[in-house]
Amino acid sequence: MAEIALNIDGREVRVEEGVTILEAAKSAGIEIPTLCYHRALSPFGACRLCSVEIIRNGRSRIVTSCNYPVGEGLVVNTKSPDTIEIRKMLIELLLARAPKAKIIQDLAKEYGVEKTRFKIEDPENLCILCGLCARICEERMGVSVINFVNRGIERKVKTPFQRTSDANLDACIACGACAFVCPTGAIKLEDITKKKPIPIPSEFDIGLTSRAAVYVPFPQAIPNVPVIDRERCIHFLTDKCKTCEEFCPAEAVDFEQEDEIIEEEVGAIVVATGAEVMDHTQFSIYGGGVHPDVISTMQLERMMNAAGPTGGEVLRPSDGAHPKEVVFISCVGSRDKRTGTGYCNKVCCMVMAKQAIMLKEHAPDTHSYIIYTVDRGPGGKIFEDFLTRAEKVGTTYMRGEIDSVSRQDGRLLLSGKDFLTDETFNIMADLVVLATGLMPNEDAARLFQTIHISYDSKNYLLQAHPKLRPVETAMDGVFIAGCAVAPTDVPESVAQGGAAAEYVLKLFSQEAIEAEPMTSIVDITRCAGCLLCRQVCPFQAIEAETLRDGRTVASINESICKGCGICVVACRPGAIKLRGFDDQQVLAEVMTL
């Protein structure tokens, strides 16, 4: 498109043809006040605050900059005395219409308007009839649930027939866009629909906050770019919206992008699929998913993080109060008899000890209990020091189990049994933290099947040997590291990762790959050429070969043959021999009976 030049406040501004004065001014960094303009919506010219003075052909005019297109040689003055006067008048009128609106009070202060000369009809009114809500509902959300009704002084924004429609018949999708764009806070979602907006829980903050449909999965994500949640994005639901596209200056939003299958040939694979933390809401026996103040160690971790949803403050989800008494329950979903898988997850004890220490640092009047069933911690050089430190800051370690968690007077009552004294106890707590165990990723087993490596009944990977070959699998060239094998802590994962990388380098630095010598060979003098072997070979390693005398025999490609021996059994004349496992060798073992 052609570029044109215009003059705004004495500066030459070059913009593309077809944009409005307001957009041109914005691109030049010149601010023009407006209440009804939205980048993603059609200009409306309702608030008139964006009025500017233009000079064309030597004649001066006042126009609304939000819907006046630029022209070659246009001279614009955004701060002329006439413009300022007009804006002041508009602010007075707006102040009479919505005296309590914060944004208008701020504007009045900025322009030195102290009070309005006009009659205030309704001191509680906030709506300034900018039409942003109606436009976003129609143009972007594509539902048109609200619009203007009546005319003149009766004009209002309403739903059809001015009623909060029945939730079941409602076209409103409760997206909340109207309330979001409203500059004065006049729109309340509950006035429009009985439907409740459904927040999208943030995966990274484990449901402590909600996120948008277009979001960066977590800080430091690689690549650190936003993604679109297709299940929730309005564009994918109604084929409308695309608001984000309007705001992206790099024009990087692409709604057509599809998942791609990228094929690569590789020489080795390191499987480091990690593990997931179990969802604490499934452990209702400890109040998980029942009481809001029963949270997981991961949630507490996010709360204690300065960049987390609460800015580093530990707050009870139910009322936002600072908890004084905190109870940690260990081994949930791991070693605990009632909820567990029966083995230690290695990381939870240290997480609890760290969090108990940090809670004390956050608020010195916090007292933590750690209820453990078997061991206080995993032992070892550094770990023991750390556990002692947790005890020194006043953490109460109790060996026992919790039988019930119930709500009483806004707090949580925990009843349990102390294993050491064999007596029952009750603890009143403000916050209960479940140290939930780890489990393999949901689709880990599918991946393991794809690359033909063995895994156990809990979907953890199997090592080639648990002691001597801990980062190798039975499959050549496939190595493993971290929680894909079993719950593993950080130093161990780092060591395994390093070892796996080293194994790959060892493999790659060889001049030639050593293959198993256990392959099948054909004795062509005995082969009848039936090629039954070719049919049963799972690797297509057997082909027909025509000899000089015209006979057809089977021929085995030794670099493809994996040495399973299926062809040996299938061979009726007994012409195929599997090196290392030929009939004589196996039978020799049998003959020792």
């Binding site: 063995s454 009944s457 256990m518 799972p538 690797f539 399973c564 021996g565 059994v569 009976l593």
Partner: protein
């Protein structure tokens, strides 16, 4: 009380699953009868019916063939070949005058050490109850 009959059992175990499973049973120090003599084969599909008959001929009381669970074969489908051969051979054993309960095919994965130990105990007890073998 008479001394319980100690049967001789031969186990053909595939290298990738059952042999590793037996290894797990061993490294985990699980108890199972020492009546079984394990012969390692690359795949349960390598087990020739001839081997089994030879075992019985040499005086074995029972033969166990064990491989990866269906779908888990290291060589894609070797265990399916084993399963078909087993089905045929088992019917043939009656003709030879051998109780077909003396031949078993079981799937044991590399992680199922306990399953392997239980299986061997169960098979040995069953063979002990059957007593010395007649037939070939």
């Amino acid at each position: 009380m008479s001394v319980e009959y100690q049967p001789k059992v031969i186990g053909f175990l595939c290298n990738w699953c059952s042999y590793a499973g037996a290894d797990v049973a061993g490294t985990s120090r699980m108890d199972y009868p020492h009546n079984i003599r394990i012969i390692r084969v690359p795949c349960s599909g390598r087990v020739d019916p001839l081997f089994i008959l030879k075992c019985f001929q040499r005086g074995a009381d029972g033969v166990l063939i064990s491989g990866c669970h269906p779908g888990d074969c290291h060589y894609t489908d070797g265990n399916y070949h084993a399963r078909r051969r087993f089905a045929l051979l088992r019917e043939f054993l009656d003709y030879l005058g051998i109780n077909k309960e003396r031949l078993r095919l079981e799937w044991v994965s590399a992680s199922e050490g306990q399953r392997f130990a239980d299986l061997v105990s169960d098979f040995t007890t069953e063979l002990a109850n059957l007593g010395p073998r007649s037939g070939i």
